[in-house]
């Protein structure tokens, strides 16, 4: 049985798809058979981030509506053996998805894969609710910004009520906080919310912190998930996140401003 993990946020543009691609890649690189599903029907993006946009023939909607088999729609990643992508349809909208269809797809994938990542669309409507409905775990992607935190809070409320686990009264979905676009310098200057404030408000377990990084934009535009960029801070941060997701203890990195000035403040200047 695969573990179903939804990557969600409420707010758009916070890095859900980037994170879903990077984490799926990281899981596969560690030998887990992984599939990442794009639930953003009508605004297909995951294929671009994964660099497989030219190989999309069939999509999730085709599979749900019986127009194609699952194996026809699954795209095998060129870089990592264990990684598959199930793209969204660009020409349909979210009404083309239905609960029974999604369940059937997830059940079938569940037999062959270790991890199923569901890349949720933004918002709290049907598309987002379908993406989270069958999840075992949730990664809530949040930017250090008040509106993003509030929207994540809203999504956490839905995860606790509008999912299969909640409706059946089973163990609740395991919720993880992933803070992205974190810029310690701007946190220090007060422009951004700091990590502690976000954690206090959302009150869930922190699974990772991704620094704001040029590597992310570069990776997106090249269609190579940033996890492959092992030299970059963001790539390493996603690798750490994946390690924590599978239960390893990894110390937090990239959350503090590299304070050259701190030393000079303490020892320099001849004061005291």
């Amino acid at each position: 049985m695969a573990k179903i993990i939804v990557v969600t946020s409420g707010k758009g543009g916070v890095g859900k798809t980037t994170s879903a691609a990077a984490i799926a890649t990281g899981l596969a690189l560690r030998g887990n058979k992984t599939v990442v599903i794009d639930f953003d029907v009508g605004l297909r993006n995951l294929d671009l981030i994964m660099g497989c946009e030219r190989r999309v023939v069939y999509d999730l909607v085709n599979v749900i509506q019986g127009e194609a088999g699952l194996n026809q729609a699954l795209i095998r990643d060129k870089r990592v053996d264990n990684l598959h992508i199930l793209p969204a349809s660009q020409t349909r909208d979210k009404d083309a998805l239905n609960l029974e269809g999604v369940e059937k797809v997830l059940d079938t994938l569940s037999k062959d894969f270790d991890y199923i990542l569901c890349d949720s669309p933004a918002g709290i409507e049907r598309g987002a609710q379908l993406a989270m409905y069958f999840a075992d775990e949730a990664i809530v992607v949040t930017n250090p910004e008040v509106s993003s935190v509030r929207d994540s809070d809203r999504i956490l409320g839905l995860l606790a009520s509008k999912t299969r686990r909640a409706e059946r009264g089973e163990d609740p979905i395991k919720e993880h906080l992933l803070v992205t676009r974190y810029n310690p310098a701007r946190v220090d200057s007060g422009d951004m919310l700091n990590l502690e404030d976000i954690r206090e408000i959302l009150a869930i377990n922190l699974i990772g912190l991704i620094p704001e990084s040029e590597a992310v934009l570069r990776a997106s535009n090249h269609g190579v998930p940033v996890t492959h960029d092992a030299d970059s801070d963001a790539g390493q941060a996603y690798t750490d996140t994946v390690a924590r997701l599978i239960g390893e203890e990894v110390p937090l990195r990239f959350h503090q401003y590299e304070k050259k000035s701190l030393l000079s403040r303490m020892f320099g200047g001849g004061r005291r």
Binding site: I124, R150, L158, A203
Partner: protein, 249 residues
Amino acid sequence: MSLNVERDGMAFTFKGGMLPMTVMELTSADPERIRDQLADKLSQSPAFFQHTPVVLNVEKLDEPHLALERICAVCRAHKLLPVAVRGGPDPVKQSAWALGLGWFPPQESARARPLESVAPVEPETDEVELAEPQATAGVVSGGRIYRGTVRSGQQVTAPSGDLIVIGAVNAGAEVLAAGSVHVYGALRGRALAGIHGDPLAVIFCRELNAELLSVAGNYKRLEDVDPRLLGTAVQVRLQDDQLGIVPLT
């Protein structure tokens, strides 16, 4: 600006208000007995009887017809001014209206019948998003205990008692209670106590950052709160029809 201009042309505006009101709960429908008791009270505390408006509560009387006119006359003779009747069957309602009095429906709160068993109460609102069962714990005598964070968009209600939240109430969340609201955590959302008009309801919290505080319809926005109280443990209660925020020490 346009709003002010329009207002100038208006003869009045309707506003909701909560006024303190003396309720005279009748246990006898006999005007003579009422007269005797009133005369007795008048001699004890004449200051109270200054054309004081009263609501005649007849819920406890089990009579289809009341000598309402005579009861009112007795009250007026003792400088009490009946303004409305509460409860009673339809004929009582009709005669109240005929006498120029208002009529209020009977008080249907569970507080009047505290001994009846109380089933777990679901919030009666349309925006209901109950968390997983384990987050909503037991129901204590019409009240409710909620364990966990009340998140943005969620609404947790105790329609007939106190609401106790063991956790934070986040911005965009709303907690409501017929009685008092107790938040053992940060209060960042909206808290409304005494939603059926109980002026004695109180809001307690460990860390005040509420978007809105309301007790029995009297409210304060975060803007109106003394900034020195923000982030501190406080209680919020009605004092002379004003919301008073007092540090909890």
